[in-house]
């Protein structure tokens, strides 16, 4: 794992001092709310429905055991004993006292953690493949590129006050496990015959009120020029992006307004005119960073598991192959009945940290689906690990199944939401109680957003659920056929919105139709593609 050097630590420590002073001025009334708001947002601090919420960065979704243990301590000491993992690989605390936030940040800084740029109109935490470093076909560990972007974008003097938030995702495999086409900028790193390492760059993707897939703006560029190209993209956006309407301020709106060709021309002009040799990435830098992320594992014999049926189910559903023989990556589902998606108690965090230390090189990953991963587990340790996870309600074997749904905090916590999300996630568990039935249904992604801001990523769900307000009541629109990889596609709206209590019966009718009419080996998404949304609309609304 990347470890802070003295410079990194000094910068984070200085940020704690800076924010403490800003908070002091705010509480003393000498810093008006209008000026404090962008400052607190750039430090991940929201004023939510019930209390301030702090979003803590987990850069590229990689955590060490000691860091997770410290997050548990924050949850215990300053919050209500739990944390909430988000779709952008971060963690949120929902019940902090405003005046204690600087103290919390000071605590986090002691373990190289912070809330820098987890919100606000700036470059946010760069996300990536949660299986980075564990899969065999990577051009490079994408976290190397993410760390370069983290450093380049942290307190960048030009890009701290952009028209709107700016999200970057990086992958280094053919398979896209970071949804790069629905980010402001998406980067795919690949090997290249001439450059060694090169990248393709997508721009203008995003969800929210105006969901759009990104355009592949640039291709086959040498990786050492990445920061100069990013600077060019950000400069064009910062100067020309709209600031008069926050709903028209994302880069996707600018790209569409200019046209892709004109935008490409403007970016290329800026790159050629303002190229800065200090931004070039040296081979030594790549090597140093690569070494810092490298995890040396000795191949081990492959185990033949003859464990219980419970073990077999968990093994098949919640573990994935590792690039090193004799290891698996183990997913910890945070979608259990009775628990909000992504929520983990302080005690569970401690347990996971201990298990990471014991079984996974002290490393934990956070995923876009609000789950956790122990990335490097020896096959011979799997049964012991399952036993330990089961004892703490952390072995629910539903990864990728219908109850492994994403949900934003919704109306229960968020001041922007129109409708509850968490109750629908719970209703999925209640409706599809039987795990055998879930396995029979097969891979199915349900994603729930409580408003058009789409924090639950409903646009790219196989079944998307969007909360809307209708005559003062929460209603829900359903979309079908969305996906974020293997040809990203935005879901199609099924029909009119339905009230809360009709959502699960409607989904049940959809699933029953699928089970009845699917072809051999056909999963739900393929079924929707084949049979079409219009047909399913008739079935779904049959009782309305």
């Amino acid at each position: 794992m990347y470890k802070y050097n003295t410079i990194d630590q000094a910068i984070v420590d200085a940020r704690v001092s800076q924010f403490s002073e800003q908070m002091t001025r705010y509480l003393a009334g000498t810093l008006p709310e209008e000026q404090f708001m962008p400052l607190r947002l750039q430090n991940g601090l929201y004023i939510q429905r019930h209390a301030p919420m702090l979003r803590v960065a987990i850069p590229y979704g990689t955590l060490a055991g000691y860091q997770l243990r410290h997050l548990a301590q924050v949850a215990r000491q300053y919050d209500r004993g739990y944390g909430h993992f988000t779709t952008r690989q971060n963690i949120q605390f929902n019940w902090l006292a405003l005046e204690q936030v600087p103290e919390v940040l000071g605590e986090l800084a002691t373990v190289q953690m912070h809330a820098i740029q987890t919100s606000g109109a700036c470059v946010r935490n760069t996300t990536t493949d949660p299986l980075a470093g564990t899969v065999p076909d990577e051009a490079i560990d994408p976290r190397v590129v993410c760390e370069l972007i983290r450093q380049w974008s942290t307190f960048h003097p030009e890009f701290a006050y952009l028209p709107r938030k700016f999200k970057i995702a990086v992958v280094a495999t053919e398979e896209d496990r970071a949804a790069i086409e629905v980010h402001d900028v998406g980067i795919r790193v690949k090997t290249h015959a001439i450059h060694g390492l090169a990248f393709d760059l997508w721009v203008g993707g995003g969800l929210g009120r105006t969901p759009l897939l990104g355009h592949r703006l640039l291709a086959d560029l040498p990786l050492d020029e990445l920061r100069n190209w990013l600077t060019a993209v950000l400069r064009v956006y910062n100067l020309a992006g709209r600031r008069d309407n926050k709903y028209k301020a994302r880069i996707k709106i600018l790209v569409n307004a200019m046209g892709v060709e004109a935008f490409r021309e403007a970016v290329t002009h800026r790159y050629l005119t303002d190229h800065d040799s200090d931004l070039k990435i040296s081979p030594e830098t790549l090597q140093d960073l690569g070494d810092s992320f490298a995890c040396t594992l000795q191949p081990r014999p492959i185990e033949e598991h003859r464990g219980s049926a419970e073990f077999q189910r968990w093994y098949l559903q919640n573990t994935k192959p590792h690039r090193v023989m004799g290891y698996r990556s183990v997913f910890i589902s945070l979608k259990r009945p009775g628990t909000a998606p992504g929520d983990v108690t302080a005690q569970q965090m401690d347990v996971i940290a201990d298990l990471a230390d014991q079984f996974s090189q002290s490393e934990i990953r956070t995923t876009h689906d609000q789950n956790l991963i122990l990335p490097h587990v020896a096959e011979s340790d799997l049964e012991a690990l399952l036993e330990a996870l089961s004892a703490h309600d952390l072995a629910h074997p539903n990864l990728g199944l219908i109850s492994d749904s994403i949900a934003c905090p919704g109306l229960d916590f968020c001041s922007l939401a129109n409708a509850p999300s968490l109750s629908l996630a719970e209703a999925l568990h209640d409706t599809f109680i039987d795990l055998d039935e879930q396995v029979d249904i097969g891979p199915l992604e349900v994603k729930i957003s409580g408003c058009m801001n789409a924090c639950g990523h409903h646009h790219i769900a196989h079944i998307g659920i969007l909360g809307v307000e209708k005559k003062g009541q929460p209603w829900y629109q359903i979309t079908l056929g969305g996906r974020d990889q293997q040809g990203a596609t935005l879901g199609k709206r099924l029909g009119p919105a339905v009230p809360h209590d009709d959502v699960l019966p409607l989904i049940k009718r959809l699933i029953d139709t699928y089970l009845l009419e699917r072809q051999a080996g056909e999963y739900f998404l393929g079924f929707v593609d084949r049979i079409g949304v219009d047909y399913l609309k008739e079935i779904s609304y049959a009782t309305h």
Binding site: S17, A121, Q151, F159, A160, Y161, R235
Partner: protein, 121 residues
Amino acid sequence: MPLINPQGEVTALTPPEALDTTDSDITTVGDLSMIAFAFDSPVDGKAFSAAALLRAEGYTGTLVGVGPVGLDRLAYGFRVGFDVLELTDDAWQQLKPHHLSPFPHHYQPATSTSQPLKKSA
């Protein structure tokens, strides 16, 4: 309202009328000895790029930032190449040295430093 230099001193400059930030092209404004760019609000950051571009293209005149810059954006403004930045009287009363330089290191090269940090890890 006071115009502050990177040392936190009030200067006696009289800034010209602010240019549109889209005019941050040295071929059209390079002959001007002093240029002002406006920050339209506490969250408007166009002028940071406008100034950075002019400096990147070799502009050596005086760059002035006017409008609601705020104490907490002074350091960014000076790092991208502004020579002076406007503060309200209230903000000027609260100005402390750490507002001018809140961080001991920077990850990015900047026009205000001749020796940008080149950090490998």
